[in-house]
Amino acid sequence: MIDVQQLVKRYGDVTAVKGISFTAESGQVTGFLGPNGAGKTTTMRILTGYTPPSAGRAIVAGFDVFENSMAVRQRVGYLPENVPLYRDMSVQDYLMYVGEIRGLAHRRARATAVLKRVSLEQRSHSLIRTLSKGMKQRVGLAAALIHDPEVLILDEPTIGLDPLQVLELRDLVKELGQHHTVLFSTHILSEAEQVCDKVVIINRGTIMAQGAPTALRGELERGGRVLVRVLGDHDKLLTIVRAVPGVLDAELAVDGVIATPDNPDQDPRPALAKAIVEAELSLIELRPLAVNLEEIFLEITRNEASLSQPMSEMDTPITVEGVS
């Protein structure tokens, strides 16, 4: 289990992580989601004991990452983003080396078992430099798994893999999530939606939203905005939509009209559909906005970008916190 409270990381004048708090439960995959440079890697480096936090606390597997770094490092398996490996070692030797530093008994058996887990047992005697990118990724994952860690931290593990390998890796991560605490970072939103039990969205060092992907989606949908598209004239549609009871406001979007209801819990779609059909327009689409994480994510980051311009960066509380 991972418990992060008000974590801050400063590098000189740059604050990479600005007081984030979240938890990752055991037996779950927690997705750590954000654009490049959002602070994902920095946070993960703090959680693995690579770099100390500037302020705040992080408890990993029951130990403070700063005060009990060794205890944390014994219980964490970490796959860094660019998968650094010793190119001049064979796969088996590398796993044995990591196992020996970790002081594992029965290293050979463990190495064989994890290689089987990542389906790389045929290549156990190959030199690492002769392996493909996807295989190297799996060697890195095997090394992170060799001591059967309580907590597994994977920094963008699917980057640079071919589509089939991505699917395999996602399945593996999902499977691992049943017995370990898995924190998994990605900037691909659909991936987080498929793999994770919980998603933490981070941007520019602050958490924008967190919760189960479905809850997060529900939360944003309950904001209630609906996109309406018809064949033909959208200006006419705009006036019709504005006149529908229960619709607070409507605006013209690129490919339709977005309607905002007065009451977020009340779905305006039945009333809208009725009004449009009565006006004899050809309705082609009527759906809630922010149906996937992609849209939630774009929504959140776009809002933040437009609002943060006049304000200083630190005080933009555009969070959808409290969803959990």
Binding site: Y11, G49, P52, R73, V76, N82, P84, D88, I101
Partner: protein, 260 residues
């Protein structure tokens, strides 16, 4: 300890598998061998006595060849150690190592011992000169030979530890090698500087201090020429190694506070 041993085993096996290390030691042994045989041949030529082999100055030959080896260490030590830490930083493998349950010290010391082991191997190869001298009937003084080898061994460890610092400082192996060679030369020549400074009577204490820092004052002038093993000299080399490895460990540790 366990982690130190793991690192030591890996690095030692890398040394004994690397072509560069063998190329360096071959060149060295070849060079010292030519030097050795020309010294012996010259001594033979200059002697008209029927007991010529007894007049070959065995001690001097060993002194000279070990002195050359240790002098050349200003090139060899940086070449042996430049890769050790800079490569880990450049390849990013240090990020994995620093998140394993292992102290920076075991990581640094394990690598250092591996380099020292390889150096010991090269040093032991030069024992063939002693065996050859014995074979042609010259008997070098056993105590002197032991002192010289002990000195050369400690000297090698000390210069390897100095060059380790630079390997931790920079990710560029060439830069690490150059800075390593420069720092060894500075310490090597420190007693010359002390000699210059000494001419000024008011600076005599400074001269003494600089001389005590120099590698030569503790090695060439004592162990290599007289064969006297002084506790102060042995302590100098051991403390130098500890200090350098400590600094290296600190530098590796500062990586945790850097942005990359």
């Amino acid at each position: 300890m366990r982690a130190l041993w793991a690192v030591y085993k890996r690095e030692t096996s890398l040394f004994f598998r690397s072509t560069v290390a063998y190329a360096i030691s071959c060149a060295l042994i070849l060079f010292l061998g030519i030097l050795f045989s020309s010294m012996v041949a010259n001594a033979n030529l200059n002697n008209q006595s029927p007991y010529a082999q007894q007049l070959i100055p065995g001690d001097q030959v060993i002194t000279y060849s070990l002195g050359t080896l240790t002098f050349l260490m200003f090139v060899i030590a940086p070449l042996l150690t430049m890769r050790l830490l800079s490569e880990e930083a450049r390849e990013g493998t240090i990020e994995v190592l620093l998140t394993l349950p292992m102290s920076e010290a075991s990581f640094v010391v394990g690598k250092f011992f591996a380099a020292w082991t390889f150096y010991t191997f090269v040093l032991l190869l030069t024992l063939i000169h002693v065996l050859l001298l014995l074979a042609i009937g010259t008997r070098p003084d056993a105590g002197l030979v032991f002192a010289m080898y002990l000195g050369a061994w400690l000297y090698g460890g000390a210069v390897l530890s100095i060059t380790m610092i630079w390997s931790a400082v920079t990710e560029d192996q060439i830069v690490a090698a150059f800075l390593g060679a420069a720092s060894i030369l500075v310490l090597y020549l420190a007693d010359q500087v002390a000699g210059l400074v000494q001419s000024q009577p008011s600076l005599a204490p400074v001269a003494d201090f600089v001389r005590e820092l120099s590698l030569n004052a503790h090695y060439e002038n004592v162990l290599l020429r007289t064969g006297v093993i002084r506790a102060a000299d042995v302590a100098y080399f051991i403390l130098l190694m500890i200090a350098c490895l400590f600094i290296t460990t600190i530098i590796v540790g500062t990586r945790r506070w850097r942005a990359n």
